[in-house]
Amino acid sequence: MSATLEKGLRVLKEVIDAPIASYFNSCVHCGLCAEACLFYTETGDPRYTPIHKLEPLRRVYEQEYTLLGRLKKMLGLSKPVTDGELDQWQELVYNSCTLCGRCSAVCPVGNDIVYMVRKFREGMSASGHAPEGIRSAVNRTVTLGSPMGVKLPAVQAQMKHVEKDVGLPIPLDAEGAEYLVVLSSMEIINFPEYLGAIARIMQQAGKTWTLCSTAFEATNAGIQIGNSDLAKVIVSRIVEGAEKLRVRTVISPECGHAYTALRWEGANLIGRPFTFEVKHIIEVLGEFQAQGLLKTEGFESDRLTFHDPCQLVRRGGVIGQPRTLMNMVAKNFVEMPDAGYMNWCCSGGGGASAIEEGEALRLQAFRKKKSQFDAVSPDRVVTACANCRIVLEESLEHYNMDIPVVGLTEMIAEHIPNKPQAAARAEGA
C-alpha cells in the first residue's frame, strides 16, 4: 500500500556503506561465486551468479555514491533502477538465495556477498518487492507473535504434554533464572521433543531456566525479508522478556536465522549492546560437555551424518561443538564432503522455504545436498536447525529418499541417563 520505489531506493542509500563500496569496486567478474552457489551449480543458469543478484544495488551505489556515476546520471547516461527491474530481481534476491554465505567464503577478492544481499533486501522489502510467502510470515510474526501463528495457549498446551512425557517441570516466567529458552514455532508445533530435551539437559546440568510468556518465539522473519524496522519489533520482545526476567543468557533454539537475528543482529537492531548473553543451544551443550555437566550413556549404532546449518557454521562460527556432541552419542558418525565450514545449504534457508513459487527451484537446488548425502549414504541425518530439518525432510521425501532427519539436542537428551542424578542419589540414601 505504501511501499514505493522511492522508499526502496532511499533505504538502499541508507544501507550502502564503505564495505559495499569496496566490494563492488573489487569485483572482477571472475564468476567463482557462481561455483559456490547451489542455485547455479544445480541449474547451470548464470543468472543465479551471486554477484549478479546485486546488480540493481550496484547501480544505485554507482549512481548515488561515485562522482563518475553521479555525472553519468546527470547526463542521463545511466540506466535507472525501476520497479519492473526490482520485480524481476525478486526471484534472484529471495527465491534463489538462502543467505548461506558460501559466496562470501570463496570470493577471491574477499567480497562479503551475502552481507550485500542482506542489505539489498532492505530496499527490496521497502519497495514492495518481497515475496508474498515471507511477507505473510512477517505479518503473522508481528501481529500474532509467530510466523506459524502459534500463540501462548498453544505453547502452554505443549508445555503440559512435555511435562507429562518427561516428568519434569517446564518453568514459565521464572524471574532470575540463569537461562531464558526461546523456541522456533516449528519446535512448538512439529518438534515438541526439543522442549523435553531441554528440560532433561538442564535438570542434569543443575541449571535454572525458564520460558517467557511474552517472548517464546525466536524466529525472526524480519531478518529474512530484510527489514530492520520489523526485525527490531520482533527481537525487542525477546530483549524485553530477558531483561524483565533478569536472565543471564538467552538460548537460541535449533534455528539458524533465529540465532543470527538474536546473536549478531539483535543489538544492532535495537541500537545498544545486550545486557545478557546469547548462545545457541549447541554452544550451551558444548559448554556443559566441557564442564562435565553433560553426561550421556549408550550409543546410536546406525550410520549418522551431521548437516551444518549455514547460520551456525559460516555465519555463526559454531563448528567444533556439533562434532564433539555427535561423537558422544554416535558410534558410526560420518562426515559428508564439504562438511563444516563449507557445508552446502539445505536449499531452504533465508526465508526461501516460505516462498511457495520458489519450491520447484528449491527442489532442484536440493540436488546438491542430495549429492552430499549420496556420497556417504547415511541411515539418518542429524542437524541443529528446525528449518533445515523441515526442508530436508520434505526434499528427501520428494526424491524418495528414506533418510530420517533428527535434531541434535533431542538426540543428546535421549542419551541422558533416565533417572535424574539427584533422584538417584536420594533413592540410594
Binding site: M1, S2, A3, T4, K7, R10, V11, K13, E14, I16, E64, Y65, T66, L67, S125, A126, S127, G128, H129, A130, R135, V138, N139, V142, T143, I225, N227, D229, L230
Partner: protein, 359 residues
C-alpha cells in the same frame, strides 16, 4: 686532375688489387652481390668524374673533418679524387667572389647533372638571416642549388634531421634539407659526424649504377642504417643475460657489460658503427666504454639525458604532488557529498510498518 680514377690512385700508390678489394668490401657492406664489387671497381675506374657541389650551412665542419681528416691517406679520402669537387668552402683554394663565381659556374655548366652535398641545417628564422654566405641566406642558396641538382645528399645529422641547431628551443628555426627539398631525390647520411664509408658508399653506388642506393623511410641507405647499434653490438649478450654496468668505474664496466643502464641509446639508434667502427676499424664508442648517444637519430639532442637509460623517463613524478592534492580534494569533496546524501536518506527514513511491505 683529369683521367680515370685508377690512374689517379696508382699515382698515389694504391694498387689495382687494393682498389678491387676496397670495392668488394664496399659492395658487401651495401649488401650488394659479390659481382657488384667488380662492377663497381670497373665503373668507378672508368667513370667520368661528376661535378659535386658541397654547400655548408649551420654546421661545425665536423662532417668534413670526418671524411677528410680521419687519418691519412684513406681510400675514402681518395674517392673524392674521382669527383670533381667544384665548390667546397673549407677545402677550396678560392675565396670570396672568386669562390662564388666557381659555384655559379659549376651550377651552370652541369645543370641537372651535379650532385649537391649539404652539411648543416638551414635556419628559417629572421628570413634566414642567421646563416648567410656572400650575403645570401642558406635557404636561398639551397633552393637555387637544388634546382639544378641530380640528387641531394644530406651529410650529417644537421642536414638530415636538423641536428643540434634544431634542438629545443631551436632559436634559429633550423630545418633539415628534406624539409625544404621535396622535388629532388634526397639521401640522408645522418651521424654526428657520419661514418666516412657510408658517404663514399653512396657516391660509389651513384657512380656505378647511376642511381641512389635503396633508402628507408627516413631516406637513409638501408644497407647502413637497416639495423640498430643494439642489434649488432658485441655487448648484446650481456644485455640478454641482464648483466649491466651501473657506473663507469664498476666491475661491470671493467668486464665490458652492457651500457644500457648508463644511458646507451643503441637500441633506438640506426647506424653501422657496431660493424664498420671508426678510425679505420680501430674502435667505436661502445667499445671504448661509453654508451651510444644516438647521434644519427632525429632529435637525439632532445631524447632525454645521454646518461639516462632508455627505459627511464626524465621526471616521471613531476605532477605527483599536485595530482595527489587534487585527487585527495576530489575524494574528500565526494566523501562529504556522500555523507550528506546518506544522512539525508537517513533522516527521511520512515519506520516500516507491516502495511509498508505491500505495494
Amino acid at each position: 686532375m683529369q683521367g680515370s680514377l685508377i690512374d689517379t690512385l696508382a699515382r698515389q700508390g694504391v694498387t689495382r688489387r687494393a682498389f678491387l678489394k676496397y670495392c668488394a668490401t664496399l659492395a658487401s657492406m651495401m649488401a650488394l652481390p659479390p659481382a657488384a664489387g667488380r662492377a663497381m671497381a670497373e665503373a668507378m675506374a672508368a667513370a667520368k668524374r661528376p661535378s659535386v657541389i658541397w654547400l655548408p650551412f649551420q654546421e661545425c665542419t665536423g662532417c668534413t673533418e670526418s671524411i677528410t681528416r680521419s687519418h691519412s691517406p684513406t681510400l675514402e679520402g681518395m674517392i673524392f679524387d674521382m669527383i670533381s669537387l667544384d665548390y667546397q668552402e673549407t677545402l677550396m683554394a678560392a675565396a670570396g667572389h672568386q669562390a662564388e663565381e666557381a659555384l655559379r659556374h659549376a651550377m651552370k655548366e652541369n645543370a641537372g647533372k651535379y650532385l649537391l652535398i649539404v652539411d648543416g641545417s638551414i635556419p628559417l628564422g629572421q628570413d634566414g638571416a642567421y646563416s648567410c654566405i656572400g650575403g645570401r641566406s642558406n635557404v636561398d642558396l639551397l633552393k637555387e642549388a637544388a634546382q639544378g641538382a641530380a640528387a641531394v645528399i644530406a651529410v650529417g645529422t644537421c642536414a638530415s634531421f636538423g641536428g643540434i641547431p634544431k634542438a629545443n628551443p631551436n632559436p634559429t628555426g633550423a630545418v633539415s634539407v628534406s624539409d625544404l627539398v621535396q622535388d629532388k631525390p634526397v639521401v640522408n647520411i645522418p651521424g654526428c659526424p657520419p661514418i666516412p664509408v657510408v658517404m663514399t658508399g653512396v657516391l660509389a653506388h651513384y657512380l656505378t649504377f647511376g642511381s641512389l642506393p635503396e633508402l628507408d623511410d627516413k631516406k637513409r641507405p638501408k644497407s647502413f642504417f637497416g639495423e640498430t647499434i643494439h642489434d649488432r653490438c658485441y655487448r648484446r649478450p650481456f644485455y640478454d643475460q641482464g648483466k649491466f654496468a651501473r657506473t663507469f668505474d664498476d666491475e661491470g664496466a671493467r668486464q665490458g657489460w652492457c651500457l644500457f643502464e648508463l644511458g646507451c641509446k643503441g637500441p633506438v639508434t640506426h647506424n653501422a658503427c657496431a660493424t664498420v667502427k671508426w678510425n679505420g676499424g680501430t674502435s667505436w664508442p661502445v667499445e671504448s666504454g661509453h654508451g651510444c648517444l644516438g647521434c644519427s637519430e632525429p632529435d637525439f639532442w632532445d631524447g632525454g639525458g645521454f646518461y639516462k637509460a632508455l627505459s627511464v623517463p626524465a621526471d616521471p613524478l613531476k605532477f605527483v604532488a599536485a595530482s595527489s592534492v587534487v585527487g585527495a580534494g576530489v575524494g574528500a569533496a565526494v566523501g562529504f557529498a556522500n555523507r550528506a546524501s546518506k544522512n539525508a536518506a537517513r533522516s527521511a527514513h520512515e519506520t516500516t510498518t507491516l502495511a509498508d511491505l505491500e505495494k
